[in-house]
């Protein structure tokens, strides 16, 4: 009798422990899913894999490239049209090595050249999250690439030149925070996909990573993240960098164009520790010495005429927000004096800002941003060139004048 009771008790105890254990695994798996969601934000998967007014991660978003249009894939857990039949191994192979489960080559428009640095544990977490979202039955659209780029074997050549497989290896000489920042920036953040010179093959070479470049098809210049005369953040405070990354505005400048997208879909969701780690790393990679000042292609007399017309245009149209001395009202109306993103050798961004205006992204930290009107319809090519020349050279700014032709060429730049 007594022993029976104790057996029952034991069994009960076992049941309870089993139940507790199950609770724990459930807990654990929901933790993993939450982590995976966070990491998917850090990787900005949604920017490419969700179409406008489309279902989350159902793909079908067109990506124009110089070689034709690529359509992103459905990565929901639908077994027929998504990745419902994939294993965690298959998924890791895609992230790490840029291959489909059958070994086929993936176009580098999917930033696996950066995601290769992601750890197996993080890849598994992202996969667990993707398995947990709503499955959407939506067939992938075939790419519209021109001959010969429609032949995936060509990707092999690109891989030989530009792809180095391998998870992130921490630098023991640096702090844990620096290494965490490096992991995020070089891996999931795929910052080098835009912030590198793009060569004719659409590749970014390792040695040029973070050196800046014109984004093909979009006509925005993604500045160097290492050069303090571009977007190198060597002389920024950590707070200004974290403000910029988390809210889209800062006392030193604001984000716009493709960078607004990055902050909107991805960076605003990173926690304070990760944002700070990225800031520490970004500040750390800025190069100490700045290169010689840029020189202008315009003759001197033309420049000085432009600049004096520019001051008139500026005082009338811009000073109400950016201040007569370019001091702005930071962070909402950004300062233009001592603002690196205006002084860069490439004048594409300031010209486009004047033509197109803009709003920084609405973020948790800045839900109702202030905006700038587009001046394309209000100013002539000559006036645009004049005002941009003025802001690039006034108040101690060390940029160079731009020509009316450059302003005119950017009128037709795509707005999406």
């Amino acid at each position: 009798m007594g022993s029976k009771l104790s057996i029952t008790l034991l069994a009960l105890a076992a049941l309870i422990t089993a139940a507790q254990a199950q609770d724990k695994t459930q807990d654990k798996s929901s933790d993993v899913i939450a982590r995976g969601e966070y990491l998917a934000r850090a990787g900005d998967c949604t920017a490419c894999h969700t179409a406008a007014e489309g279902r989350l991660f159902a793909g079908g978003r067109p990506m124009p490239t110089p070689f034709g249009t690529i359509y992103t894939s459905n990565i929901t857990p639908d077994p027929e049209t998504g990745i419902g039949k994939w294993s965690a191994d298959d998924f890791y192979r895609t992230m790490h090595n840029g291959r489909f489960p059958d070994g086929g080559l993936i176009y580098p428009a999917m930033p696996f050249a950066s995601y290769t640095k992601v750890t197996r544990a993080d890849s598994d977490a992202i996969f667990a999250y993707l398995r947990s979202i709503q499955a959407v039955n939506q067939k992938n659209k075939p790419h519209e690439l021109r001959f010969p780029y429609d032949n995936r074997q060509l990707i092999l050549g690109w891989r030989t030149l530009y792809f180095r497989e391998g998870e992130f290896r921490p630098d023991p000489a640096k702090s844990a925070e620096w290494n965490r920042g490096a992991y995020l920036v070089e891996g999931l953040g795929h910052c080098s996909m835009c912030h590198s010179p793009i060569n004719a093959l659409g590749g970014t070479s390792q040695s040029d990573a973070f050196k800046g470049g014109l984004i093909p098809m979009q006509n925005w210049y993604a500045p160097s993240l290492t050069n303090n005369r571009e977007a190198g953040l060597g002389d920024w405070s950590i707070k200004d960098i974290t403000d910029l990354l988390q809210t889209g505005v800062s006392a030193r400048g604001v984000v716009y164009g493709p960078m607004a997208e990055v902050v909107h879909n991805s960076l605003q969701y990173l926690d304070d520790a990760d944002t700070r780690a990225m800031a520490v790393y970004l500040k750390g990679i800025a190069e100490a010495s700045s290169p010689p000042p840029a020189s202008s292609a315009l003759p001197n007399t033309e420049s000085s005429l432009l600049i004096s017309l520019g001051k008139t245009v500026y005082d009338k149209n811009c000073a109400s927000c950016h201040g007569t001395q370019g001091e702005g009202k930071p962070p909402h109306w950004p300062p233009l004096a001592n603002n690196q993103s205006i002084e860069m050798q490439s004048a594409v961004n300031p010209i486009r800002m004047v033509l197109n205006g803009g709003y920084p992204p609405g973020t948790k930290g800045n839900p109702m941003p202030y905006g700038m009107p587009p001046f394309a319809g209000l100013l002539s090519d000559n006036e645009v060139a004049a005002v941009v020349s003025y802001i690039r050279t006034a108040w101690g700014n060390r940029g160079t004048p731009v020509s009316a032709r450059e302003a005119n060429e950017l009128r037709s730049a795509p707005l999406n």
């Binding site: 909107h264 609405g362 202030y370 999406n416």
Partner: protein, 235 residues
């Protein structure tokens, strides 16, 4: 040297920003919607009254729900005008709602009706379509939805007064060609689909000649029943 002077000036400006609340407000843009929509006003007017450009529509006083629907459509690219698609791309829903409410609550006077360039016959045809429709061709009267005084109805039906003929015909054309769509069922598409090019010219011209009514505000929701359902005007 110059740059360094500018930098230290900036430091002083920044420091003084923390020197008491007054300094802080002085160094910040006004915390108002008016300051936040300065990016819109060169095209739409300071109070949303419109500008001299005949394709830039008046926004003021239109139902907030209608304006909000348009902002959502521009943000997603469903309604296309690249300069606006670009501006709105990364703005969250509650902010677009606040912009819509802002312009809906402004009431600058309606513009003087413009002298018309079309013949009396054409104007008469426009008036007939707007006020009685053409049952034989399946065209309901515009007033049956846009209201007897053409001032619209809360929350989703806009008034049709104070708009230039060029704008109205461009919009009706966009519906006919499918480049503008509204929430399904898209009743305006059904209406526009039955209009000929000549109908569009006539009704747009007549609308632009209408004087401002005594009370230009949209009527409250449910004031009258629509001839058929509209996705933008939930029952």
């Amino acid at each position: 040297m110059f740059a360094r002077a500018a930098a230290s000036a900036a430091v002083i400006v920044t420091l003084s920003a923390f020197d008491g609340a007054a300094a802080q407000t002085a160094n910040q843009p006004p915390d108002t919607m008016a300051a936040r929509v300065e990016a819109c006003t060169p095209c739409h007017g300071n109070k949303g009254e419109g500008t001299s450009d005949v394709y830039f529509p008046r926004l003021a006083g239109k139902p907030a729900g209608y304006l909000y629907n348009q902002l959502l459509a521009f943000r997603s690219g469903r309604r296309k005008y690249p300069p606006m698609n670009y501006l709105l791309e990364f703005l969250p829903d509650p902010y677009l709602e606040a912009m819509a409410e802002y312009f809906a609550s402004e009431h600058p006077p309606l513009p003087q009706p413009a002298p018309s360039e079309v013949s009396k016959d054409v104007l008469a045809q426009g008036e007939a379509l707007a006020t009685s429709g053409d049952a034989g061709r399946g065209i309901p009267a515009c007033v049956s939805c846009h209201g007897p005084a053409l001032t619209g109805m809360q929350p989703g039906i806009p008034g049709l007064l104070g708009l230039r003929a060029a704008y109205v015909s461009a919009q009706l054309g966009a519906w006919r060609y499918g480049t503008r769509t509204a929430k399904s069922p898209d009743c305006m598409q059904l209406v526009a689909g039955h209009l000929t090019e000549a109908d569009v010219t006539a009704v747009a011209a007549w609308l632009a000649t209408r004087p401002a009514p005594a009370n230009p505000a949209p009527v409250p929701k449910g004031t009258y029943a629509l001839p058929f359902g509209c996705g933008s005007q939930p029952n």
